[in-house]
Symmetry: C2
Subunit: 413 residues, 2 copies
Amino acid sequence: MYEISTFYPQKIIDKGDSMATLIQEKVRQAVSILAEQDIDLWLIFVRETSVNSDPILPVIYGEATLTRQSALLIHRSGETIAIVGRIDAETTRLIGAYQTIIPCDGGISQNLLSELQRLNPAKIAINTSLSNVMADGLSYGMYQLLLKMLADTPYGKRLCSAEDIIAALNGRKTATEIDLIKAAIAETLDIYQHTYKFMNPGMTEKDVADFMHKQIADRNLLAAWTYEGCPAVNSGPDSPVGHAAPTDIQLEPGHLVHFDFGVQKDGYCSDIQRMVYLLRTEESEAPVEVLQGFDLVRQAIEAAREVLRPGVTGLEVDQAARKVIVDAGYPEYHYATGHQLGKRAHDGGGILGPQWEVYGDLPNQMIEKDQVYTIELGIALEGYGYIGLEEDVLVTEDGNVYLGEPQTQLVLK
Amino acid sequence: MYEISTFYPQKIIDKGDSMATLIQEKVRQAVSILAEQDIDLWLIFVRETSVNSDPILPVIYGEATLTRQSALLIHRSGETIAIVGRIDAETTRLIGAYQTIIPCDGGISQNLLSELQRLNPAKIAINTSLSNVMADGLSYGMYQLLLKMLADTPYGKRLCSAEDIIAALNGRKTATEIDLIKAAIAETLDIYQHTYKFMNPGMTEKDVADFMHKQIADRNLLAAWTYEGCPAVNSGPDSPVGHAAPTDIQLEPGHLVHFDFGVQKDGYCSDIQRMVYLLRTEESEAPVEVLQGFDLVRQAIEAAREVLRPGVTGLEVDQAARKVIVDAGYPEYHYATGHQLGKRAHDGGGILGPQWEVYGDLPNQMIEKDQVYTIELGIALEGYGYIGLEEDVLVTEDGNVYLGEPQTQLVLK
């Protein structure tokens, strides 16, 4: 192959422009965020993104790669400019999110400088951040190149971080994005229904996971996270919950079976935990302690939902849910109560989490309308297994709504 | 999913440790390169590589992701240290390339500092480069974090670029890597043989490409570059050669059919162009001008091979091949005569290319033993189509060898 491989324009056409529509929507959203944050220009500066990409690029340019040095300029006035290699110009045109496309054969510095001179921005945001990996796409080498290009201009001194732009843009889902997440959730819940019918005592965790993997493949979906651990399947008290792939442990009557599973459909993810109880021969209902444990987890999820609304912090939401578990005498869970959901199962930005060092400033960020969060927590029930539930919710103007039917009763098999 | 997803240790075990063996081999090779380049320590500093990875990480850590802030330290003495989140420690242990694994629960700065104090390196290479994207994996935010960690120490002033380490490490293939590339080439040549049998006049370029895509899937391989353009199939004089996916153009008697195709097998790629001539009813041999064109392209490839050996530059190789084409009266081709091949079809580092601005310094780099290059070029033959060939060769001590049987005669159908 005699040129550096890039994305074929056909791909966008084949997908009926829905991908392009979404990118256009996100770029328009970025414009409004610039005005809100009083930043004149957002400058995305990349090269050979097939080798080293910028994590925000899929949101504002899509799956296509940019072969040579390229700059995307989004101005608060609504003007959008793409300075790209000639080889990528047609793809950029088809994406339709950039009004002006400047194809370059050599370097881009002259074109970039003349656009900056024309726009004369007072603040230029670039993709660098100490704490938010989604907003830290600019490499140190590219930063140095940019400073070189801007030497002898006033613009080098006008650079600032785009981390707040990226947190807002990635966090606030558009109507199209919410529909895509809903579609991923619907597939997930449907796969769960098929799995409940399929699973039976005597099968191993791996057998059940294989069935779910086949469902993913048959529906042309992808796993929402690392394939080996998506789904997680934990049957009974001896199954290692957490970072482990499904094992050869057999499903047995009297086991709680815990699932953690999500799919990626059309670029957007779901992330949902579900619970099944395997009845013993003499049982027609789960034991009372199992039902109580399930209800406690349900209550804690609803306690989080009571608090979750624009203007509160993720920390407050976490505390509400955590308190329910701890007050009932269970040890507190060693993870956050929720994270954002979108193009990735863990979509970055603020979390519904405790003030632990490892989470840095993420639990203190303000919840905003149109963000999508998971709410997830659990307890270990001695003799039966782990009870964990996870639901996906959308933050509304004054609260939140489920994006899929929540599990309110144990599934019995 | 309640923790940031990482790689499941099982994956390495399932692959029979061959992946781990390869990573161990590359890390040992890195140690010898440090001694050769008189650099004491190579420091790879990353975080959440599932969101924003470092392009060299697959070579020295594999496909696994590093969840939290992590530092890999490779010392010229042969000592190797991985300071990683506790969640990733087991995976790191299974990779087996790092003798000391330091699991961290919070930040890594204290552990990193104490290792630096113990080793007291005079030169510390970090992944930053103005020109080599493979060597520019450190983000600007992470660079600033590193400087913060090293404040009040002498180490901040001892940082240098790892670009020469990375160019050498990625360029010089180990015996295991060469075997893997050979295996990818063997699959490719076999798929070509099946394709020659399958293809017939009346089919479209897309039909032929679909057949090859099915071969890729049936053999559990991946396309070596963007799926839509791998293979490229060009039939006859009207097919757009270059960056275009196969079209609805029909194969016809009297067409030259040009292929550009490669596969990825076990993480390594092939990249090979092949030529078929479709005989007209009355023909039992290709027309003389077609045979002459094919021979010219063959000659140019052999002219490049004559020059290609350790110690020459890629520019010299390019000139030798280009001269054959231009001397025969054809316009010179608008791309480089070759690029390196490995984990990626375009594997970075020096190229066999002309001194054009867009290639920067890449044509002037010295050829080294154990590098793998493509040699590829072509001419447009009026009335028949494009004649392009591409072979993959390994640089030896005093020359180079083909890694797969070259095409020395037109395939006739």
